[in-house]
C-alpha cells in the first residue's frame, strides 16, 4: 500500500523500512483516536472494497491495479472512502519523506543563515531593484 501511494517506498531497504514504520507508528500514536479508528476501519475494508472495484483482494493486485483501485476510491462520492485514501497516502508520505536525509535528497537543505548561508550554486539571488511600475503596497 505504501508503494502504491508513494513509489519511492519501493527503493527502501530493510533498515529504511524499519525507520519508516517507526515514523508512521510514532505519528499514529499522537493522532486522535477517531482519526486512527477511521484509518483502521478503512484498512480493514480495503480488501473488500478492492473485491468490489477490481474483482480481486487488494493484496493480490499488481501495483498498477492497486493504484487504480485507490484512485477510484479517492474519487468516490462517499466521503469516508475519500478520507480513508487521504489518510493512508498522508501516512505513507510521512513515513517515506519524513526519514532523515530525504529532504536533502529532494533538494531542501534549510540553513538558519538564509541568504548568507548555503544556497545551491545553480540558484541565483534575484537582481534587486528591477522596479515594477505597477507596484502597490497594502496600506
Amino acid at each position: 500500500m505504501a508503494t502504491a501511494c508513494c513509489p519511492p517506498a519501493s527503493a527502501l531497504d530493510e533498515a529504511a523500512w524499519q525507520e519508516a514504520e517507526r515514523i508512521a507508528g510514532t505519528a499514529l500514536a499522537k493522532r486522535p483516536a477517531r482519526v486512527v479508528g477511521h484509518l483502521r476501519w478503512f484498512l480493514a475494508a480495503l480488501p473488500w472494497l478492492s473485491l468490489l472495484v477490481a474483482g480481486r483482494p487488494f493484496g493480490r493486485l499488481s501495483l498498477a491495479r492497486r493504484v487504480e483501485v485507490l484512485r477510484r476510491l479517492e474519487r468516490s462520492p462517499v466521503a469516508a472512502l475519500r478520507r480513508g485514501v487521504w489518510g493512508l497516502r498522508t501516512l505513507a508520505f510521512l513515513a517515506v519523506y519524513g526519514r532523515p536525509g530525504m529532504r536533502e535528497m529532494l533538494g531542501w537543505s534549510p540553513d538558519p543563515g538564509g541568504w548568507s548561508g548555503h544556497v545551491p550554486a545553480d540558484l541565483v539571488r534575484p537582481t534587486p531593484s528591477r522596479g515594477t511600475p505597477a507596484l502597490r503596497l497594502v496600506p
Binding site: 502504491a4 501511494c5 508513494c6 513509489p7 515514523i23 505519528a27 499522537k30 493522532r31 486522535p32 483516536a33 482519526v35 477511521h38 493504484v67 485507490l70 484512485r71 479517492e74 474519487r75 466521503a79 469516508a80 475519500r82 478520507r83 485514501v85 487521504w86 489518510g87 497516502r89 505513507a92 508520505f93 510521512l94 519523506y97 519524513g98 530525504m102 529532504r103 529532494l106 533538494g107 531542501w108 537543505s109 534549510p110 540553513d111 538558519p112 543563515g113 538564509g114 541568504w115 548561508g117 544556497v119 545551491p120 545553480d122 540558484l123 541565483v124 539571488r125 534575484p126 534587486p128 531593484s129 528591477r130 515594477t132 505597477a134 507596484l135 502597490r136 503596497l137 497594502v138 496600506p139
Partner: protein
C-alpha cells in the same frame, strides 16, 4: 491554591497583547499571570527540523483536523501562539468589515486605529527588493501578466536573514510575534509567565491549570483564583473551555459561527531551479476577497508538507516532488463567512473539535482562486501546474485555455483535495446580548463579568484573511476594560483560602 489579580489563559495574538497592556497593573503591584499550554521556542529550533517542530510547537503535534478529518488545522501551541510561527505578515483590519458585524459599542474606526498604532510601534516595514526570492518575484510577474494587481505586504520582522522556515519557528528570532514583542515587555513589568501549563477547567473566578512539565511550576494540577480571568487560548481551546465549564446553557450561541479561511496550495513546475526555500516566503498578495472571495499569495512548504498538500498519490505525485527545487508555490485562501452549522463542539473525551462543512460559496471561491493561481503560474513561465480541483491535478501549458473547464467545483471534494486552515475564528462572538452571542464589545462574557475573552473567538464573522492585527486590536480593548473594571471586580472577589 494561589491567588492572582488577573489570569490570562494563552499567549498568542490575544493573550500576548493583553499581557503587555496589563503591564502597568503589574508595575503597580497587581499579580498578573499568563499561562501558556505550549513550551517556549527556546533554542531547540536553531537547526530546522519539521517533524520536531510540528511535535513541539503545534496543536495536536501538527496533526489536528476538523471533526470529519478533511481540513488540517495548523495552529501554534507555543509561547506566542501562532504569531511565533508566522511569516509576520501585517495586514490591517477593515473598519467597514468590523462595522458590518453590528456589535454595539465596537466602532470599526477604533480597531483600525489601534492596529495602525501597533504596526507603527512594532516598526513593520515593506520588504526591500533585495530580500525577495524568485518565488515572490515570479508571483508578482505572473500576477501582472495575468491581469491582477499584486500588492506588497508589510512584515513584522526584524533582522530577517531569509532562512525561509518561519513555520518551524524562526531560527534567527526575526519574527516579531507576541513572544518577541509583547510578552518580554510584560515580563519586564512583573507579569508572571508559565509555559507548558494548560487550563483544563474553569469556574467562577477560579481556573484549574495542568502543568505537564517543569518549566517554572511543578508538574500537576494547580488551582488558581483571580477576580478576573481572561481567556485567550485561541478560538478552539477557549470555546472548548467554556463548553466544558457549562456556559453553553446560558449562552446558546456558544461554539457557533466558526470561520477558518480554508486554503489550498497550488504548485507550479518551472524549467529551472528557483529560489524558494531561501528568502521571506510571503511578501505579496492578490486580494480578490470582494470580487471572488479569495486571496492569492506566494508561499513555501517543505517537501513533506508539499507532499501532503498535493492532491493524489502514485507516480505522478512522486514526479512533482522530484521536481522540488523547481517548484513555485502559491496559496489560495478563501474568506469563509460565519454559519451556524460550523462550530466548536466537544468530542467524547471532552476535547474541543471543529465541526465544519465547506459552503458552496467557499468551494466556488477556492475554485476561482485555483484558476487564478494557475494563470499566475503560467504567466510566470511555469511549464505545468498541479491544481487540487483538477483531475488529473496536473495541467500543462496547452491546458491554459481550458482552465475554467479543467478546474471544477465538482472536483473540490473534501477528503480528495488537501485543505488546511491556520486561522480558526469565532465560537464566542461579541454580540448585543446572551441570546445572540457570548460577550459584549469589550470581551465581557454575558452574565459572568469576572470572565473575559480576548482572542479570535470574539469575531462574529471573518475579519478577512490575516486576522492577527484585528485580534490584537480587539484584545487591547479587552485589556482596557479589565484595567477599568478590576477595582470593582477585586472588591467583589471571594476570600481565598
Amino acid at each position: 491554591m494561589s491567588a492572582w489579580d488577573v489570569i490570562v489563559i494563552g499567549s498568542g495574538a490575544g493573550g500576548g497583547t493583553v499581557a503587555a497592556a496589563l503591564a502597568p497593573l503589574a508595575e503597580a503591584g497587581r499579580r498578573v499571570l499568563v499561562v501558556e499550554r505550549g513550551p517556549r521556542l527556546g533554542v531547540a529550533h536553531a537547526r530546522p527540523d519539521e517533524l520536531a517542530s510540528a511535535d513541539a510547537f503545534y496543536a495536536g503535534a501538527g496533526a489536528a483536523f476538523t471533526e470529519d478529518g478533511t481540513i488540517a488545522l495548523a495552529t501554534g501551541q507555543v509561547l506566542g501562539g501562532s504569531t511565533a510561527l508566522s511569516t509576520g505578515v501585517a495586514v490591517g483590519p477593515s473598519g467597514a468589515v468590523i462595522d458590518g458585524w453590528r456589535v454595539p459599542g465596537l466602532p470599526g474606526a477604533d480597531i483600525e486605529a489601534r492596529a495602525a498604532a501597533m504596526v507603527r510601534d512594532a516598526g513593520a516595514a515593506y520588504p526591500h527588493d533585495a530580500t525577495l526570492n524568485e518565488n515572490n518575484r515570479l508571483f508578482e510577474e505572473g500576477a501582472l501578466r495575468a491581469g491582477f494587481s499584486p500588492e506588497r505586504m508589510r512584515l513584522l520582522v526584524r533582522g530577517c536573514r531569509g532562512a525561509g522556515v518561519c513555520h518551524l519557528g524562526c531560527p534567527n528570532d526575526a519574527v516579531l510575534g507576541t513572544h518577541a514583542l509583547q510578552l518580554p515587555r510584560a515580563a519586564a513589568a512583573g507579569v508572571r509567565i508559565v509555559t507548558r501549563a494548560r487550563a483544563v477547567a474553569i469556574a467562577p473566578q477560579q481556573v484549574v491549570v495542568r502543568v505537564t512539565a517543569d518549566e517554572g511550576w511543578p508538574a500537576g494540577d494547580h488551582v488558581l483564583t483571580a477576580p478576573c480571568i481572561v481567556l485567550a487560548a485561541g478560538a478552539i481551546e477557549t470555546t472548548g473551555l467554556l463548553l466544558r465549564g457549562g456556559f453553553g446553557g446560558a449562552l446558546p450561541r456558544l461554539g457557533r459561527g466558526v470561520t477558518c479561511h480554508p486554503a489550498h496550495v497550488v504548485v507550479a513546475e518551472h524549467p529551472r531551479a528557483i529560489t524558494n526555500a531561501v528568502g521571506h516566503p510571503t511578501a505579496y498578495r492578490v486580494d480578490r476577497t470582494t470580487e471572488d472571495g479569495y486571496v492569492l499569495e506566494p508561499c513555501f512548504s517543505s517537501p513533506l508538507v508539499t507532499a501532503r498538500n498535493l492532491t493524489g498519490f502514485g507516480p505522478e505525485h512522486a514526479q512533482v516532488l522530484a521536481a522540488y527545487p523547481r517548484l513555485q508555490m502559491l496559496r489560495v485562501t478563501a474568506r469563509d463567512r460565519a454559519a451556524d452549522g460550523n462550530r466548536v463542539v466537544l468530542d467524547r473525551d471532552g476535547e474541543a473539535i471543529v465541526r465544519y462543512r465547506l459552503a458552496p460559496s467557499v468551494r466556488d471561491a477556492l475554485v476561482a482562486g485555483q484558476r487564478a493561481a494557475a494563470r499566475v503560474a503560467f504567466g510566470a513561465g511555469a511549464v505545468r501546474v498541479h491544481v487540487p480541483a483538477a483531475d488529473p491535478p496536473r495541467l500543462d501549458r496547452h491546458d491554459m485555455d481550458a482552465l475554467d473547464r479543467r478546474i471544477s467545483a465538482a472536483l473540490e471534494l473534501p477528503g480528495r483535495v488537501s485543505l488546511s486552515a491556520t486561522q480558526p475564528l469565532g465560537g464566542a462572538a461579541m454580540s448585543r446580548g446572551p441570546r445572540d452571542g457570548v460577550t459584549d464589545a469589550h470581551g465581557r462574557v454575558h452574565g459572568a463579568p469576572w470572565l473575559r475573552i480576548a482572542d479570535g473567538s470574539l469575531c462574529p464573522d471573518s475579519p478577512g484573511v490575516h486576522p492577527v492585527l484585528t485580534i490584537m486590536a480587539l484584545a487591547e480593548r479587552v485589556a482596557d476594560a479589565v484595567r477599568d473594571d478590576l477595582p470593582a471586580l477585586a472588591g467583589a472577589a471571594p476570600a481565598v483560602a
